[in-house]
Amino acid sequence: MKLNNMTRRLIGVFLRFTDAAAIAGAAGAAVSLGAIPILVLAEIFTRTTLGLSLGVSWEYATYFMSLVFLLGAAFTLRTGGHIRVSVLPLGANKSAAVTVEFISSSVGATMAVFLAMALSDLAWHSFIRGVVSATPAQTPLFLPMAGAAIGAWLLALQMAARVVSVLARVPVESEAPDADKMSIHEPPQ
């Protein structure tokens, strides 16, 4: 597919934005993951030495885990981490490979948008109803739910970027599972 300069530039900007968004999500997920052992160890320490519970450790640890899974989902997709089955022998047939990638990415984008809307709706209703956790901390649940919804939107964005990448014939995945080395999309030719 021949693209004019303006389209190429717009696609380049979009793909760089989605990469940056995925990396930002991964950074948030990494910080959340780092917080989990700190919370659990703090709970163990206070329980064994002071004989008291922090009260919020387990609850907040699970919210952080949700952020790890969802905020990290776009980065995982971008670096080829989500599992897919490779039974179709597509090696030599480039156009068939592109078609299959387009179909799978489109299905993925549709489902990711549906999930993002569903989680956003959950967070929104939690906010307007003032739902809080059933723990002494009474944490407003829309806060961690909103974080999860943001992660789902990042995944939807990365799926959309994949559809665009397939159409523009640019690589859909970065090989390195390392944000520092994650290649930014080259502008399509």
């Binding site: 991964a26 997920a29 990494a30 993951l33 780092g34 989990i36 052992p37 659990v40 160890l41 163990i44 387990w58 640890a61 699970t62 919210y63 885990m65 949700s66 790890v68 899974f69 969802l70 990290g72 989902a73 980065f75 995982t76 997709l77 670096t79 981490g81 989500h82 599992i83 897919r84 089955v85 490779s86 039974v87 179709l88 299959v100 990638e101 179909i103 799978s104 299905v107 993925g108 489902m111 990711a112 549906f114 999930l115 809307m117 569903a118 989680l119 709706d121 959950l122 961690p144 739910m145 999860a148 599972p177 390392d178 944000a179 520092d180």
Partner: protein
């Protein structure tokens, strides 16, 4: 019921063949299943099930054990394992080939992943074995087989996922995996010993005598690993810590080992966190999608219908398990272990429980099946790891691993015939655990 069940299975199959990600395929099939019933708030069911799974306390151990393994993979642990174990294998038929088995067994006790176990141990042993003239098929095959122990010997990521889905005790699953894991490791070693005794050309003889002093010195190399195993498995077994607490202690221990070896840098820790995010997100999202899929099937009454149709076949418990083993072996050719468990559990677990089997036993049975799936082509994660390490084609590596596949299969059939072989260790847990 048969029509809608076949449609769901067909859709799932088509999506998977079309290279749609497992997490997306499960979600799509779940949405399709629910849309066949009128007036269901599909989006609310989806959001609620994703939220419930991703904030489940039982699942907290999963990202922590993954982080622990990622930190340890960035230390000199593989070299320590080789230096510590190699003096002890001298003199045995097969010599250093046993380091593959012993190294994987030890690393499995601090890592929950079979791919991580294969990679970490193989990184150093393969180079050493091949450069010293050991037979390639036995060196690679034993690593492929022993690497699968990462799933069976606790802590095990797949066991955590199974425990959450089956609502079974993760601690009991961990403890139940120990005996079959050690038996498998012993059988792998016996096989290596027999093969090299029958054909001494497969393993060069010792170049020199290994003194007891060298052996004891070697043990000091294993000290950090031993300490971590005691901290993680010991605290679990003695009831000092829950799986999540043991995992958090494990992360702390891994950081301490990295610092002690001078391998702890900010950049390495950050990379370990990112890699752990990647694996955790993959596992957590599949689990969440699988849970939604399971709920969708339950709305339609598919598990009950499947149970009734199997009951009508009048199979004995053992026949049922052998049938499931056959189905799982076929699925294992094309799917990874985690996907197999998540996709089939809503149907198979009620059947197995109805046949009188314990969910803890079934968990161990499934892990053994998953281990076999790890080394069967065309989709086998251990094969992929070894392909990238050795450059050998997948089919040839699978051939090298075939004897170890047969041993695992034999143990699987044995525990199917005698379930108490798995469950007796659970009975040794302190009361109240």
């Amino acid at each position: 019921m048969m029509g809608i069940s076949a449609s769901i299975a067909g859709l799932l199959g088509v999506l998977l063949v079309a290279r749609v990600w497992v997490v997306v395929a499960l979600t799509t099939a779940g949405v399709f299943a629910l849309s066949s019933m009128q007036n269901l708030p599909i989006d609310k069911i989806l959001a609620r099930s994703i939220w419930n799974v991703t904030t489940s306390t039982e699942l907290l151990a999963l990202p922590l054990f993954i982080l622990m393994a990622e930190i340890l993979c960035r230390t000199n642990l593989s070299q320590s394992l080789f230096r510590g174990l190699s003096p002890w294998t001298a003199g045995f038929p097969g010599n250093l080939l046993h380091v593959n088995v012993a190294g994987c067994t030890l690393f499995a006790a601090i890592s929950g992943s079979s791919a991580a176990t294969t990679l970490t141990v193989g990184r150093i042993t393969l180079k050493e074995l091949l450069s010293r003239g050991y037979d390639k098929s036995l060196a690679i095959g034993s690593l492929a087989g022993a690497g699968t122990l990462g799933f069976l010997i606790p802590p095990s990521l797949i066991m955590i996922i199974y425990g959450v889905l089956a609502e079974a005790s993760i601690l009991k699953l961990f403890i139940a995996g120990i005996a079959p894991g050690l038996v498998l490791a012993a059988l792998y070693s016996i096989y290596i010993g027999l093969r090299t005794s029958l054909d001494p050309a497969l393993a060069p003889r010792d170049s020199g005598h290994v003194s007891w002093r060298e052996r004891i010195t070697g043990l000091s190399e294993l000290f950090p690993v031993a300490l971590l195993i005691i901290a993680v498995i010991g605290s679990l077994y003695l009831g000092i810590a829950s799986p999540t607490e043991a995992a958090a202690v494990g992360v702390f221990g891994a950081i301490a080992v990295a610092a002690w070896q001078g391998q702890l840098t900010k950049s390495r820790l950050w990379t370990a966190l990112l890699c752990a995010v990647r694996t955790s997100s993959m596992g957590g999202m599949i689990l969440a999608a699988g849970s939604f899929f399971s709920i969708s099937l339950a709305y339609l009454g598919v598990p009950q219908a499947a149970a009734e149709s199997i009951a009508a076949m009048n199979l004995t418990g053992f026949q049922l398990i052998l049938t499931l083993l056959g189905i799982y072996l076929v699925l294992g050719l094309f799917l990874d272990g985690m996907s197999i468990i998540i996709m089939t559990l809503p149907i198979t677990l009620p059947l197995v429980i109805a046949a009188g089997y314990d969910p803890i036993w079934f968990g161990v049975f499934l892990i053994l099946v998953v281990e076999m799936a790890q080394i069967t082509p065309p989709i086998g994660f251990n094969l992929f790891v070894l392909e990238s390490m050795t450059g050998e084609p997948i089919g040839r590596i699978a051939g090298y691993a075939f004897p170890f596949f047969v041993i695992t299969m034999a143990i699987t059939i044995l525990i199917a015939a005698f379930p108490d072989l798995v469950l007796f260790t659970v009975g040794t847990l302190p009361a109240g655990r």
